[in-house]
Each structure stands twice: as C-alpha cells, then as structure tokens.
C-alpha cells in the first residue's frame, strides 16, 4: 500500500519535473544576439598610432566581431583639416553610428549637428564638443584637474614645508581637456594662496618641448614642488628634465593619460610620480558597449545625451603601486 503510494508520488513528481523542464524550454529565451548584424559604425579619432586610440579600437573591433556589425576606422593622423574632410565623407555614407574624438570643443560641432540631423547617432569619445549628440563616453576632465590640484595642495601647500611652486604643462592651451583641467585646477589653487603657479606653458604635446620648458623652469625655481603635465606622453619629457636635474622626489611629476603599461614603466623608473589614469582599455569597452546599445536603439528618456564617465585609476609610486593598474595592448 505504502509502496504504491510512493510509486504514485514518484510518477507525479517525475511528471511534474518533465513538465517543468518542458515549460522552461518552451519559454522564449532572452535574445543573446540582437539583430544589429550588418549595421555600420565609423570611428574618426584624432589619430591612430597612439595607445589611447589603439586601445579603444581594439575593444570596439571585438564587439563588432561578436555582433557582426561593420566598424570602419578613418585615421586623420593629427591633421585637423583631414579630420573634417574624413568626417564629411563619413556623414555622406550614412552610417548607423559615428564615433568622434574632438580635438577642440569647436572644430567638429557643426558636423556633429549635421550628422544627428541626418539621423546618424554620434558618440563622442573622451573629448567633448560643445555640441550635444546622442552619447558621450570619457573622462571627467573637471574632476581630474580638481583632484590633481587638491593632491598638489596636500603635497605642496600649507604645513608641507615645501615652496608651493607649481609648473603646469598643458598640451595646447585651447585643447578641450587642457582648458577644463586648467579651469578646475586654478579654482582649487585660488583658495590656497600659498600655491604659486610659476609657469603655464604648452608643449604642443611634444616630450622634447616639455623637457626644455621644465629644464628652464627648474633652473629658475630649483625649489619647484610639483609639475602638472596634461598628458603622460609629453610629461615624460618633463620627468626626464627633473631626473637630469637630480630633483627626483623633490619636484613631483603629475600627469594624466590612458594608463597603458608605458605609464607604469615611467612610474617605476621615477620619470612620473603620480598619474590619474582614465584607463583607455576600460573606456574602449565602455565605448563599445555604448555603440552596441545605440545600434539597438538606446536613447535617454528626455532625449538628452547619454553619458558615461570613465572611472579613474590613480597610479602612484610607493607602497600602493601595482603594475596591474596599467593595461597592455
């Protein structure tokens, strides 16, 4: 009797199990492959051949391969004239998404507007134009400028026993990132009169120019406390000048950049002391994800720009240092 009851229970249980499984199979699965294959994305960076843009492109290509959309990269090689021409051509080809990397806040704004009007979604990467578009992904330059300035105040300001003298080396005084970082930094310095900016001269993004400026400034101010370089690549030239003057550790070299392994090597070698990295590799993945979403029709509810801020990695020499903070191509 009991056996029968157990047998019946077993059958019921088995039947339930089978039905449940069947039901699970029958439920439509979450679609892993959205139908964006065959769509077209064009990416116009300021220039390829630098770790920043190569790092982004690598992740974008990976996503394009997964979803089967076409990614086309047009390289103007630091030539702004060529950049506007390439962008005009890209717009005429009507891609689904256009990714642009603005050298200045002004240069591409008209073309971005034109592309959006033609129904092309424009994703601005890392450097923003003053023209809004579908989406932006990149570093928060105001935050980087402010945080570095605050760190400088901590190391060179009141009660630090240091001179409070700071040299700033922007890339170009009109470049979007330099403008924003300088604005933010000077706001902080204004509240701390003990900080004196003794030099604010652009390097045209060239390491050798940065080295020459720094050598001259160090000569005039051997008690310089900090150098704030707006890009790690040219700031390495400034770091070389500090090294040559045997002032390593006394004049702190601050920089910001994409944070690839060259940056970590520079920190290990004592050429750079503190780097605010916006992690180009992570940015590449963020950008690629945003492209996927834009291709699937993502937009914000109020029609404003979708915006993703890159998290920072702060690479400092000392006990907190780890080479894992940097990425490798």
């Amino acid at each position: 009797m009991l056996n029968r009851a157990i047998g019946k229970l077993r059958r019921v249980f088995a039947a339930t199990l089978v039905m449940t499984c069947a039901a699970l199979v029958a439920v439509p699965q979450a679609q892993a492959n959205p139908n964006i294959a065959g769509k077209k994305v064009i990416f116009v960076p300021i220039s390829m051949g630098i770790s920043l843009t190569e790092g982004w492109a690598r992740r974008m290509k990976e996503h394009a391969a997964i979803y089967g959309y076409a990614l086309d990269i047009r390289d103007p090689a630091f030539n702004t004239q060529a950049m506007t021409e390439l962008l005009a051509k890209a717009i005429s080809e009507k891609p689904d998404v256009l990714v642009v990397h603005n050298p200045t806040v002004q240069l591409l704004s008209r073309q971005i507007k034109q592309a959006e009007a033609a129904g092309i979604k424009v994703l601005q990467i890392n450097l923003q134009s003053n023209q809004q578009s579908s989406a932006f992904v990149g570093a928060n330059w105001e935050r980087i400028g402010r945080e570095i300035a605050e760190d400088i105040v901590k190391s060179c300001g009141k009660d630090s026993g240091k001179s409070g003298k700071v040299a700033i080396i922007p890339g170009q005084l009109t470049a979007a990132d330099s403008v924003m970082m300088n604005d933010a930094a000077f706001k902080v310095f204004k509240e701390h009169p003990e900080i004196k900016v003794v030099s604010n001269q652009a390097s045209d993004w060239e390491p050798e120019k940065a080295r020459q400026i720094t050598a001259t400034v160090l000569q005039q101010n051997p008690d310089l406390c900090a150098i704030f370089g707006h890009w790690d690549v040219h700031t390495m030239g400034a770091g070389a000048a500090v090294k040559d003057a045997a002032l390593q550790g006394k004049a702190l070299v601050y920089a910001t950049g994409g944070g690839d392994n060259v940056t970590c090597k520079a920190v290990e070698d004592g050429v750079l002391d503190r780097v605010w990295s916006y992690d180009a590799d992570g940015q590449g993945r963020d950008a690629a994800t945003l492209i996927d979403l834009l291709l699937q029709g993502a937009k914000s509810e109020d029609g404003k720009m979708l915006s993703l801020e890159s998290p920072m990695k702060i690479i400092k020499a000392g006990s907190d240092y780890s080479p894992n903070l940097c990425w490798k191509m």
Binding site: G49, I50, A77, L173, K209, A210, Q212, G237, A240, V262
Partner: protein
C-alpha cells in the same frame, strides 16, 4: 678701427651688417633679461641654455651649408627623427651602440644622397625635392617601420643612451661636446676643404661654377649627405635627452622654422654664397636667449611664436634691403 662686421666669416660687409645688428640685439636682450629676471645671468641657466640649444645649433650647421650652396633642405627634421628612430630601433633590438651608430650613419648617407640625386641629377628645385622627401621619409617610417605608432620610447638605462645624455671630462655634457665638434667640423669643411670652397662658388653663381668645370653635382651630393649627418647627430641629442623619438616633431613642431630662423638671422642670405659658422652662432644666440628669457618670464607658447615670427619677418625684410637681388644673382624660380 676694427669693423665688427669683419670678425665673422668672410669679409662681405653687406652680409654681415645683418649679423652685426642681430649681435647687438642679442647683447641688448641679454642685458634686459639680466635686469628683469633674477635667475637669468647664472651659470646654471647658461648650462640649460646651452643644452637646450645644442640640437638647434647642430641642425643649423647642416642647414647653413645647404643654404650657402643656394639650396634648402626642408627634410632636415624628418631626417633627424628618422635617424633617431633607426638608431633607437637598432639598440632596442640589442645591437651595441657603435654598430647601431655605424648602420644608421650609412642609412643617413643614403637619404642625403637621394636628396642630392633628385636635386643635382633630376634637377628638381631643392625646396620641392626635399619637401617631397620629408613627406615620404615620415610616411615610410610611420607606415612600414613603426606600424602606425608615433612615438618610440628609449630606455634611458641603455649604455648608448646614457652616454649621450651624460657628462664627460669633469662636467662637460656630451650634447655640448657634439655641438662643439659639429661647429668645428663645419668650420673646417667650409673654410679649408675643396667641397667647401665649391659650396661658396655654387651659391655665388651656380652657372659660372658649373661652366668653369667645378664638380657641382658631386659637391651637391656631399652637401646633402653632410646635412643628413648633422640631422642624425641632432636626433641623437634630442632623443637621448627626452627619452623619446617623436614623429610629431616633423608634422606639428616648429623646429624647422627655428632652424631657418637661426640661419637667416645669423646673416646667411637665402640666396647663398655667403656666411659661415660665426653667423650660425649669432643666430642661435639670439633665438636661444629669446626662448630662454620668454620661458623664464612665463610667456605663453602662442606669444612666443608671435614674437619669433615677427623677428623672422624683420630679419627677412632686412635681408632683402641689405642683400638686394640684381641681374647677376637673380634667377627665375629660386627662393
């Protein structure tokens, strides 16, 4: 009474008026900066000034020789970066410093010879030939050798690099030594060597030089190969100092402009035939002092460019007045 215009180089009075004017301007500028800026007239600043202008002087030696022969080498900076890049790639690949130096020197000779062949045998105007070669050198390096990269990093701990940025003989920096030797070699070549004398003859009157049977084509080859060598030496100085070889120096830098500025300001006329090492020294002195002083006074880069541009225009206009073209020296299509 000693005429200050006769101290430098050959004794063409007219040419050296500009040199003398620039010299006086430099002295005034030094006086002004010494009063205005505390740390200007110090041994330390002199050292920085010299080391910052080493590459400029070396490049100017090459450019001066070319300009004296009534040529122009717009590919000088491209050659400089290409030479430094070749050298860096070779030592990064584990070659020892001397072998890398020798191989690169050979490659530079080929580039110089290529320029000279285009100018002397194919008879393309120097400006166009070297402009084209500058573009192809840069393009070739970026495309085929650096595979799209812009920047080459040099390991500063490499013995060859360390030697180039170190000091020898109780504190004389190697870049300074290289600068002095290049000046000395240029002076010797221009003054005492046969190709040097032919260079002046070519600059004075090319047709006459050729008609009298001087080997102008061979001399052209020697001149452009020499320029290529100076470019390489300058490349070594720049890259070992900053630890990088940066191809953007060619495309967006103002170094070529500075080099021409030095040569013209020093009093070497663009139509050639006159000038010497003394002129290079005068030209560099003004530019180096101006640059150093403006940096110390924290002038923005744009302001510095404006001032340098004004100085160049003034010099070129002065050059026009002091060295007017006449029927003898004017030819169609030259600079």
């Amino acid at each position: 009474m000693i005429n200050p215009a006769n101290i430098f180089g050959r004794d063409e009075k007219r040419t050296n008026i500009l040199g003398a004017v620039v010299l006086v301007a430099t002295v005034l500028l030094i006086a002004l900066f010494s009063i205005k800026i505390d740390s200007f007239a110090t041994p330390g600043n002199l050292r920085v000034l010299l080391s910052n202008s080493a590459s400029l002087v070396i490049l100017s030696c090459g450019m001066a020789v070319v300009i004296i022969s009534r040529g122009l080498d717009l590919s000088l900076i491209a050659q400089m970066v290409a030479g430094a890049a070749t050298f860096s790639i070779l030592i990064n690949a584990g070659l020892n410093g001397w072998a890398a130096f020798g191989l690169t020197l050979f490659a530079m000779a080929l580039i110089g010879a290529m320029n000279a062949w285009l100018i002397a045998y194919v008879e393309i105007p120097a400006m166009l030939a070297t402009l084209a070669s500058a573009m192809s050198i840069t393009g070739f390096f970026r495309f085929a050798i650096l595979r799209g990269e812009y920047l080459l990093l040099l390991d500063k701990s490499n013995p060859a690099v360390a030697l180039l940025s170190s000091s020898v003989l109780s504190g004389i920096p190697v870049p300074f030594l290289l600068m002095a030797s290049t000046l000395l070699v240029t002076w010797g070549l221009l003054r005492y060597s046969v190709p040097g004398r032919i260079t002046y003859a070519m600059g004075d009157n090319f047709q006459a030089a050729r008609l009298t049977g001087l080997p102008v084509r061979t001399a052209t080859a020697a001149i452009y190969v020499f320029a290529a060598f100076t470019a390489f030496i300058a490349g070594l100085v720049v890259s070992s100092a900053s630890g990088t070889v940066d191809f953007r120096t060619v495309t967006n830098g103002s170094l070529l402009f500075d080099v021409i500025l030095v040569v013209v300001l020093g009093g070497i006329p663009l139509r050639g035939g006159r000038g010497g090492v003394g002129n290079i020294l005068i030209g560099t002195a003004l530019i180096a002092v101006l640059r150093n002083g403006m940096t110390l006074m924290d002038f923005s880069t744009q302001t510095q460019d404006v001032l340098k541009g004004l100085v160049l225009i003034t010099a070129i206009v002065a050059d026009r007045f002091i060295n007017p073209r006449d029927i003898e020296t004017d030819t169609v299509g030259d600079l």
